[in-house]
C-alpha cells in the first residue's frame, strides 16, 4: 500500500516537473479516444482507428502514384516558397525603405493581404491551367504578403537612435543598410518566412484540393470517394506532420537569428 502510494507520488512529481510528459499523455489520451470511437462507435467507412492508420502507412505510399503525387506537391511548395520569399523580400525592402512608395503602396499591400484570395482561385485555374503553374502561382500570392508585411515592419521599427548613432559615426547609406537596417530586419524576416510558408502551404493545398487531377489533391479526393479513411488519414497525417516539422525548423532558425533580442 505504502509503496504504491509512494510510487504514485513520485509519478505525479515526475509529471509536475515535466510538462512535456503530460503533453504526451494528453496526445495519447486523444489517440485512445479516437481509437475507441473508431472501433466501436463510428461506421468504419468514415473513420478508421489510428493504430490501423499507422500500420497501413506503407500501403498509402505503396499506392500507385502517391509517391509521384507527393513529389509533385513538394515541388510546387518549394518553388512557390522560394518565389514568395524572394519577391516578398525585394518588395518589402523597396516599400520599407522608400517613404513615398511605402505611403502609397503599403496600404494597398495590406488591403490585398486582407482579402479572401480563395474567391479568385477559379481565376488562377483559368489563367494558369490545371498544371503545377496555377498551384505555384496561388501559393505565391498567399505566401508573398506576410513576407512583405514583416519585412516592411522589420525595416520600420528600428529605433531611430541607432540610425542617428550610425550617422554620427560616419556610416554611408550602404553601410547603414548593411550594418544597421539589414541585421535588425533578419529576425522579422524569418518570422515572415514562417508565416509565408504557412501561406504557401495553404495556397498550394487549396489549389490542389480544388483542381484534384494530380498531386495530393487527386488522392485525397480519390480516397474520400472510395470511402477509404485509412489511406486518407494516413496521407493527411503525413502532410500535417510535415507542416509541423517545417514550421518548427523555421521557428528554430527564427529564434537562432533573434537570440540577441532576448539574451
Amino acid at each position: 500500500m505504502a509503496m504504491a502510494a509512494a510510487r504514485r507520488r513520485s509519478l505525479l512529481h515526475g509529471l509536475a516537473r515535466r510538462p512535456w510528459l503530460a503533453r504526451l499523455l494528453v496526445i495519447a489520451a486523444l489517440l485512445a479516444l479516437w481509437e475507441v470511437a473508431a472501433r466501436f462507435l463510428v461506421d468504419p467507412l468514415f473513420l478508421s482507428p489510428p493504430s490501423q492508420v499507422i500500420m497501413s502507412l506503407d500501403k498509402v505510399f505503396g499506392t500507385r502514384g502517391v509517391p509521384a503525387a507527393l513529389q509533385l506537391t513538394l515541388f510546387e511548395l518549394t518553388v512557390a516558397f522560394v518565389l514568395a520569399v524572394a519577391i516578398g523580400l525585394a518588395l518589402g525592402l523597396v516599400i520599407g525603405l522608400q517613404p513615398l512608395i511605402r505611403r502609397s503602396f503599403f496600404p494597398i499591400v495590406l488591403l490585398l493581404y486582407c482579402m479572401p484570395q480563395v474567391t479568385i482561385l477559379p481565376l488562377f485555374i483559368l489563367f494558369f491551367g490545371i498544371g503545377a503553374a496555377s498551384k505555384i502561382a496561388f501559393g505565391v500570392t498567399h505566401g508573398v504578403f506576410p513576407v512583405i508585411v514583416t519585412v516592411v515592419a522589420g525595416v520600420q521599427n528600428l529605433k531611430p537612435i541607432l540610425l542617428v548613432s550610425a550617422r554620427s559615426m560616419g556610416a554611408s547609406r550602404w553601410q547603414m543598410f548593411r550594418y544597421v537596417i539589414f541585421p535588425h530586419m533578419v529576425p522579422s524576416f524569418f518570422a515572415g518566412m514562417r508565416l509565408g510558408m504557412s501561406g504557401v502551404l495553404l495556397g498550394v493545398l487549396l489549389a490542389e484540393l480544388y483542381v484534384s487531377v494530380a498531386g495530393i489533391g487527386y488522392f485525397t479526393t480519390l480516397f474520400t470517394q472510395n470511402f477509404d479513411p485509412t489511406k486518407l488519414l494516413g496521407l493527411i497525417g503525413v502532410l500535417a506532420a510535415m507542416a509541423i516539422v517545417l514550421n518548427a525548423v523555421v521557428r528554430r532558425a527564427e529564434n537562432h537569428f533573434a537570440r540577441w533580442r532576448t539574451e
Partner: protein, 279 residues
C-alpha cells in the same frame, strides 16, 4: 581660418520645432552663443526640455539650426563630422545584434580603419573602460552601466578630438553613476579631448566640468557660466570638499527657479494637449 583656439564656436544659434501657429510649435533654443576651448570639459545643465540636447545635436551636425552658425575646429558645421566628433547618447545606442567588440569595431569600419588597427584599438579601449571580459557579450546581456561603458569605448575608439556626451549616465542609478563619473574623469584627463557633456545632475556637472553652462527654461539660453577650478583627474575626495558643496549650491540656486518654470510649462502643455485631444 582657424584664428581662435576655440575647438567649438557657437554663434547666435536659434532653433524651433514646427512652424509658428502650429500646435507643436516650440522655441527650443533662444539665441545662444558659446565657445568651448581645446581640451576643455564643458557641462550643459538646465531644466528638462531647455534645449541642451538640441544644442549638442546641432554642434554635432545631427541637426541644422533654424538660424545661427556653428564652427568646429575652424570649419562650419554642415553635417556629421565623424572624424572630429564622437557621440555618446543617453539612450542605449549599441547595435543589439552585435557583441560589444563588434559594436566597437563597427564604428571604425564605417571610417575605413584597417582590420588590424581596429582590433588593436578595440582591445585598448575595452581595457580602458574595464570591459575586457565582456567583449563577446551582447548588449542585452549587460547592465545599463556596462552598456554605457561600451558606448563610451566605441566613441573613444574613433580617436576624435571632440566628444559630445548627451546625458550618458541619465538612465543609470545614482551609485553606478558616481563610479562611472569617477572613472570618466580619470579616462578623460589622460586623453585631453574637448568634451561637451549634457547632464541633469548638479553633482555630476561640478565633479566633471572645467566650466558649467547653466541653461534657462524654454526657450533655452545660457543664463550663466560657472568655472570649476580644480585639476583633472578629479579625486573622490573632491566630491566631499567644501569647494564642491559651494559650487553645487550655487548651481542649485541658479537652477531652482528655472526648473520650476520648466515644470509649470510642461504641465501647462500637457493640459493643453489633453484638451485638444479630447476635442
Amino acid at each position: 581660418m582657424a584664428t581662435s583656439e576655440a575647438a567649438i564656436k557657437v554663434r547666435d544659434v536659434f532653433h524651433r520645432f514646427g512652424a509658428e501657429g502650429e500646435q507643436r510649435f516650440v522655441r527650443a533654443l533662444a539665441d545662444t552663443s558659446l565657445d568651448v576651448a581645446e581640451g576643455e570639459l564643458l557641462c550643459l545643465i538646465g531644466p528638462s526640455g531647455c534645449g541642451k540636447s538640441t544644442l549638442l545635436n546641432i554642434i554635432g551636425g545631427l541637426m541644422t539650426p533654424s538660424s545661427g552658425d556653428v564652427e568646429v575646429r575652424g570649419q562650419p558645421v554642415r553635417g556629421p563630422l565623424p572624424r572630429d566628433i564622437a557621440f555618446v547618447f543617453q539612450e542605449n545606442s549599441l547595435f543589439p545584434w552585435n557583441t560589444v567588440l563588434e559594436n566597437i569595431e563597427l564604428g571604425m569600419t564605417f571610417q575605413g580603419v584597417s582590420k588590424s588597427e581596429r582590433a588593436a584599438r578595440a582591445a585598448e579601449v575595452l581595457a580602458a573602460v574595464g570591459l575586457k571580459e565582456f567583449a563577446h557579450h551582447y548588449p542585452a546581456q549587460l547592465s545599463g552601466g556596462m552598456r554605457q561603458r561600451a558606448a563610451l569605448a566605441r566613441a573613444l575608439s574613433l580617436k576624435t578630438p571632440i566628444l559630445l556626451m548627451d546625458e550618458p549616465f541619465g538612465a543609470l542609478d545614482e551609485q553606478t553613476r558616481m563610479i562611472l563619473g569617477e572613472d570618466l574623469s580619470v579616462l578623460l584627463a589622460q586623453s585631453r579631448k574637448t568634451i561637451v557633456f549634457v547632464t541633469h545632475s548638479l553633482g555630476e556637472a561640478v565633479f566633471l566640468a572645467d566650466r558649467v553652462a547653466v541653461f534657462s527654461a524654454r526657450p533655452g539660453s545660457i543664463k550663466q557660466v560657472i568655472a570649476v577650478d580644480e585639476p583633472h583627474p578629479r579625486r573622490p575626495e573632491f566630491a566631499t570638499s567644501a569647494k564642491f558643496t559651494a559650487l553645487r549650491n550655487q548651481l542649485y540656486r541658479l537652477l531652482h527657479d528655472e526648473i520650476r518654470k520648466a515644470v509649470q510649462q510642461s504641465s501647462a502643455a500637457d493640459t493643453a494637449r489633453a484638451g485638444t485631444e479630447r476635442a
